[in-house]
Structures are given as C-alpha cells and as structure tokens.
Symmetry: C2
Subunit: 327 residues, 2 copies
Amino acid sequence: MDDRRRGNINMFIDRLIESIKEKNNPTVVGLDPNLESIPAHIRENAFRRHGRSLKAAGEAILEFNRKIIDAVCDIAPVVKPQLAYYEMYGIEGMKAFMETVRYAKSKGLLVIADGKRNDIGSTAEAYSHAYLGRTSLCDGYFEDVFGVDALTVNPMLGYDGIRPFLDDCRDFGKGIFILVKTSNKSSGQVQDIVTNLDASIYEILANHVNEWGKGLEGKYGYSAVGAVVGATYPNQAKKIRSIMRNAYILVPGFGAQGGTAKDVVHSFGSDGRGALVNASRSIIYAYRSEEWRKHNGEESFDTAAREAAIKMRDEINKAIKQNREVV
Amino acid sequence: MDDRRRGNINMFIDRLIESIKEKNNPTVVGLDPNLESIPAHIRENAFRRHGRSLKAAGEAILEFNRKIIDAVCDIAPVVKPQLAYYEMYGIEGMKAFMETVRYAKSKGLLVIADGKRNDIGSTAEAYSHAYLGRTSLCDGYFEDVFGVDALTVNPMLGYDGIRPFLDDCRDFGKGIFILVKTSNKSSGQVQDIVTNLDASIYEILANHVNEWGKGLEGKYGYSAVGAVVGATYPNQAKKIRSIMRNAYILVPGFGAQGGTAKDVVHSFGSDGRGALVNASRSIIYAYRSEEWRKHNGEESFDTAAREAAIKMRDEINKAIKQNREVV
C-alpha cells in the first residue's frame, strides 16, 4: 500500500464546501436522463444517425447532458448522475455516463455518482476501485476508471462493506454518501423500524456515519463520509442532523418528489452549511412544464433548466437565511 | 401495459428447478474474475494484443470466463457474475459482462447477475429495465439490454424499491434474490438488530420476501422472489427457511468465505429443494491451490474449476441426503 496516494490531497469535502461557497449554491443538479423525457429533436437526430438503437439512446442522452451541464456549470457546484438511467441503455448508456462525468469535470463541476452500491468487503473493494480509487492492471494501475468525486453507498451490509470506500476516500481524496433515510414512501418499512434499544434504524445508521467518518475530516470540520436523507422526511432529518455533526447531508426528494425549501432547512447546520439539496426531474425537464411551454419551445430546454436551477438555489438560500434568523 | 409480455412465460424459478434436477446439482459457479487471479498466460496474451489497458483486462476476463463456462456448463445449472468485478474495468469490463451473459446462455446456463441494486421506485424501474425487463426506445423497445435471468436486490428502501422488479419478474419470467442475511462478518450490524417487537431485521425481511412473492409462484410452488442468506450463518438460515416456505435461497459464502456443506443444508427444505449454493473463488481459482499446482500447470485452470465444481456438487448433495435421512 506504500504506493497509494496520500498526503496533500485536496479532499472532496473541502472542494465541495469551497464550490458551494463560491457559487453561493448548496444544490445539485441530478442527471437522470431518459429518452422519453428529453427533447424530441435531440432524440430524433440521434435516431436518424443510428436508427432506433441503444447507440442512438446513448448519444442522445449525452448530448442532452452536455447542454444541461453548459447551462448550469457556472451556477451549480455539483451534478449527480443516477447510474440506473445509464445502465438502462446498456454499454452505450455506460459510455454516456463516463463521457458525462468527464465533461462535467472539465466544466469545473464536482460529480457524485448515485449508484447506492453495496456488497461484502472484497467485492465492495471492486466497486470502490471502479468509482473512487483505481484498478490494478498487475504491475500498474488504471486511474479514474469512472473517476467520480463521490458515490452513494447502501449500508445494509455493515462496516465490512463500507471500509473499502473509506480507504479510497482517504487515499484519493474522495467522498461517500451513505443511505440513512431515503426519500421514498416505503423507506420507513426498514429504516424507521424501532429497535429494542428504542433507537430507529435510521438513528443507528446516523451514528455509524459519524463513527465511520472519524479521521476523515477536512479543513472545515466535515468528514468525507456523508449521508443521504430525503427532503420528504423533515422530522427525521432534524434528529439525524443532531446526531451527525460532521457529516454532509445529500438531500434527494426536492421538487418532483414533493420536498420543499422549508423541508430541507433541517438538514443544514447552524452554520448554514452541512447539506446539499438535489433536484433532478424538476430541473432537467423544466422545459416540459406547462408554464414554460406556453411561451417557449423545447429547443430552449437548457435555458429552462438554468432558470429552474436558479429558482431552486434562491428558494433554498432564502429558506436557510430565514431559518437562521429564527434560530 | 397491454403490450407487455404475459401468459405462458417459462418462469425463471421453474427453469431453475428443472435445471437443478436435470443436472442433479443445486450449486452456482460465481464468476468474479480479476486480472491478478486469472492465469498469467491469458493476461499476458491480452497485454500483448492491447497493451496494459482496460481493453486488455476486459478481453482477458472474457476469455477466462468462456473457458470456465465451457468447463462447467454440462454439470452446473447457473453462473453468477458479480457486477462489481466488471464495473471495476469500466466500459470494457461491462462489455465482458454482457458477452459473458450471452455466452453462458448460449451454453444452456441460467445467469444470476449479482448487483445488489436498489433505489426509489422510479429509479429501481430503470435498473429493472436494464437487467430483467426491456428499455423503451420511444415507439419500440430494446429487449434484453443485459438480459440476465435473475438479479440480486437490496431491500433497504422497502416495497417501493422492489415493486418494479416484481413487475418484470411477472411479465418477463425473471427472478430476484433479495438480501436477507448476507455472508460477511459485519452483516449483523444492521441485519441482526432486534426490534421492539422482538423480531430481528433479517426475520422482518424474510417475511417481506414471503409477502412480495405472493402471486409469483411457479408450477413447483416456489416464487420468483428468492432471498440471499449466507452460508456463514447456519442458525439464522434455519429460522429464515422456516419463515419463507416458497422462496428459493441463494447461499453465498461457501468455500473461500468459510461456509461448509453442513452449514448450507439448513437452507434447503424438507423436499431437498429450495436452495442454491454459490462458490466463486474456490471454483474459478481452484488452479491456484497448492494441491493443484503440485501436479498441474495453470493452463489446465478450467479442468481445476470443473473438478472443484464437481467436488462441491457431490459434497452438498451428500450433506442434503444425510440431513434428510436424519429428519
């Protein structure tokens, strides 16, 4: 392990905090493209070039993503491609994912891959190589296979399955966000179960996030180990925030899933930091809203996304400010 | 949904049971290839053709997998590629995964993709399209994107995140295996937690597996919804088996992880059916054992894998038989 990178690595969590500050924007644009929802002209052009094929799908979603990235890269600090939407288009989709990551990074954006990966230790190590670390090619390494800055991770297998990601966070300056309380309706079926010690599963997980992040704090006190806590559960978010003082919270569920700016403020700390709110469909498909279509065509989908991203930024900043004044 | 396939589909679970019976073998060969562990001649040949690259890695693991598949396809009913080991090599790794799936199916094997995928409903749907169902290309579908027979799934998000997979199981004759009690050392950190109703999380999950599988039973009474229960936890396996009468259990952790034939019998029902035991490293890397290397070279790695697979089959069949005689 002597040859692993160490030392003065610019940690993801520090780069994240600095980018949020610089852009005055604690939000993430979720890149969850699907062929049905992207503008017809992009889709049809791709079909003309490659027929009705996965190759056409891959090219179309990549073109869509690039235009979205161009439209938001000066105002948003982070994009979050959701891996399922790329795997759905097979190898061609995964190529589009890889090119999206590269393009976003070239535009100064941080990239969180939303993959919710999980497995036993030896296998979690392989996932970590793929997304955060590097893959051995025997007598040499391939750096940055998918090369994202951070990955979402599912903790159901316990510490063994998390440890390899922690190693790569430390050695390569990366980050993870561990599922603690997800935004979906049935998340309580497992995560809200109350144990015989009176704590709920999500509280136990929040404590693990704390524990696992120890020693991985950056210069602002936040650790490389963050948590996923849905905007749709503000009461649980309050509890979780009070347990995890050093963990950044990635907040899905804003917008299309029903979470509002008032709901997400509970995930921020009293310093106005500590959370990162994601919206996907309500940003990237803003051009499909009735409002937009009244006055504009689908060609300006990127402008619609930019305006929606600005609106979200302003709403959330305002809610954070109001909340701090109340406190 | 009218155009979704329905009706007389040959269900995965029925094909599985028939193949196990025909080959008299309730085991799975796990295809978890990594460049360091495969025979040097395969690796070096690929490096000669493509340099020290991910392309070389992808070709090498595909060649390795094909030879393993050739060696076991007449005796084993199922192979289980572990997705992490392919994602680790990026796009080239995913190509190798796809070609491995195709090759295995062409040789009459069933394929379980071990991906432990999970997400909220709308996103779980995209994963399900990728592995079990089909992906819409607007006015048409792409069938069998990765086209496996079954997928492992993580239940931490509850029913919302499982439902899309159930739909594809029903409509396309596929199967899922839901994590209930994983084989790793720290699996108890979440899965063994005892709730205020005195049940453990793994027992609650076993009950969900039962519930979610209702209406998806095949002609032998087993449902399309199976469970993952590690060979390393025989006591928990007994309890889980008694809860889930209609669910097939995929048992990892045999061999390299320490599970023995005696440990796995508890996952089988009194009919001698109901479980499927996986071994990966102890089969595919059998050529690396001291025993094998004393008398053979690495060129015969496929013969080593075949012999190890036969030994495993016989050990497990013997243990099942002994257990039934005792009962």
